[in-house]
Symmetry: C3
Subunit: 204 residues, 3 copies
Amino acid sequence: MRMRHPFKVVIVTGVPGVGKTTVISHLKEIAAEKGLKVEVVNFGSFMLNYAVKEGIIEDRDKIRTLPLRKQLDLQARAAKAIIEYAGEKLGSEGFLVIDTHALVRTVAGYWPGLPKHVIDQLKPDMIAVIEAPPEVVAGRQARDKTRYRADFGGVEGVRRLMEYARAASFASAVFYASTVAIIENLEGQAEEAARQLLSYMENL
Amino acid sequence: MRMRHPFKVVIVTGVPGVGKTTVISHLKEIAAEKGLKVEVVNFGSFMLNYAVKEGIIEDRDKIRTLPLRKQLDLQARAAKAIIEYAGEKLGSEGFLVIDTHALVRTVAGYWPGLPKHVIDQLKPDMIAVIEAPPEVVAGRQARDKTRYRADFGGVEGVRRLMEYARAASFASAVFYASTVAIIENLEGQAEEAARQLLSYMENL
Amino acid sequence: MRMRHPFKVVIVTGVPGVGKTTVISHLKEIAAEKGLKVEVVNFGSFMLNYAVKEGIIEDRDKIRTLPLRKQLDLQARAAKAIIEYAGEKLGSEGFLVIDTHALVRTVAGYWPGLPKHVIDQLKPDMIAVIEAPPEVVAGRQARDKTRYRADFGGVEGVRRLMEYARAASFASAVFYASTVAIIENLEGQAEEAARQLLSYMENL
């Protein structure tokens, strides 16, 4: 069984408000300066576009009306399409960075973002977990209600989600012997976090 | 690969003394009032009856004499039989609720109650984890020695078992992208816990 | 699918400095006194010798130059070879004890020591996790710099590695319904720890 893709696959996870987007944007910049080939894909966005293109949903907002179990097949197909897309972009070198979640808080409980049928497609070299103090994360969520639409249960809710997401990351890592890189993203130090992430990636 | 059964499969777990039986009995009542089809199966009991019926053991008490590794094949066959039974009862709708454990404290260490070969049969939509403060759980175990025959190591032993059982639940959830619903069962509020569980189930 | 080997497979894990080697050496002694057949294999050493014998690397020190992803195939082949070796030594009874890690701290992040492709070969009856207070472990690492070449981040670094290694153990245990035996190895009580481990093993 094939254990890896020709390029390296790095999944970057983190609870909402942890600063994942900022870290990834720094990562792109630093990688570009270094002349590294990095292709970043947001799993959720890619899946939505894919679902519209394939006629599975009419428009992106309709995904919310799709029951969890109907999203399963869509997830696996989107994961496969991401790898094909990266293959065209990267060929046999460089890094595919996938921006997603290890665990999602839903109205039906905590939902694994990296279940077996997705991991079987992605075959990640690394699962990075961006973390920050729960107080900081909860503060960001409280300040920007338009961006963080769901209620994450304050500091305690965030602390739990982070703990469970870490457990889920280790569980997902066992399937393809992915490394788990825990990256601390402290206030105002997103660039340092990105540099640490890239250093882990270059050691893969 | 088929990812789900036609009906929804909800596995309800919890350490001994957490009040799982009471929550499930409230769940049955509330579901009946709402006109929802719910079939509850206790995994352990079903497996014992199955083992006797199939001539694998002479009577139910003989299961303790069956070594752990001999129980593995029995588990998978019982899980398959539970799904067939539920198919007859539920057809293509409603909920199969399976009362079992995510982790069992044995004389050979902590034993996963939802290993891959069982999960491959059950394909759960949800793994619910009923929790309660370790002090409350240890208190119940101490008061009712006839029911909780094993020694669970007091408050600290219960706290650990609960922590490890949660980790095991997330590990089992990754195989079929099951949601993990953590349900707090506070003293005297088992009905509220059952309502919360049902609310999660209805959002599957 | 075969769920077990004819002999019993016990994987003994623990972070560097936890006293794993001492516990295993006591285990061998006690098992010999009791007339139990126990074959101990160090996974890392066995893999290195195997790699040299098969011409994959020139000499044992060259393993560090092999990138993580190239080690994956080697791991699976070494695991298979360990089982074959144990079959010759043990026949259809006794215990194969494998000395290894559930999680390894690398320059590319935490790396699962018991990923699916290794577990698929080993099919463990038990994953034992040797633990000790993080302060004790960090103290041993600080005193013996020649043995513990990597920096494990002091008490807090050890505490985290132990916590994550336990999560990884439970994740690996789900594949073949292995029990997880958490063994406390307190200062000066390695023999007691070995006796407890053996007691768990005899109950498999």
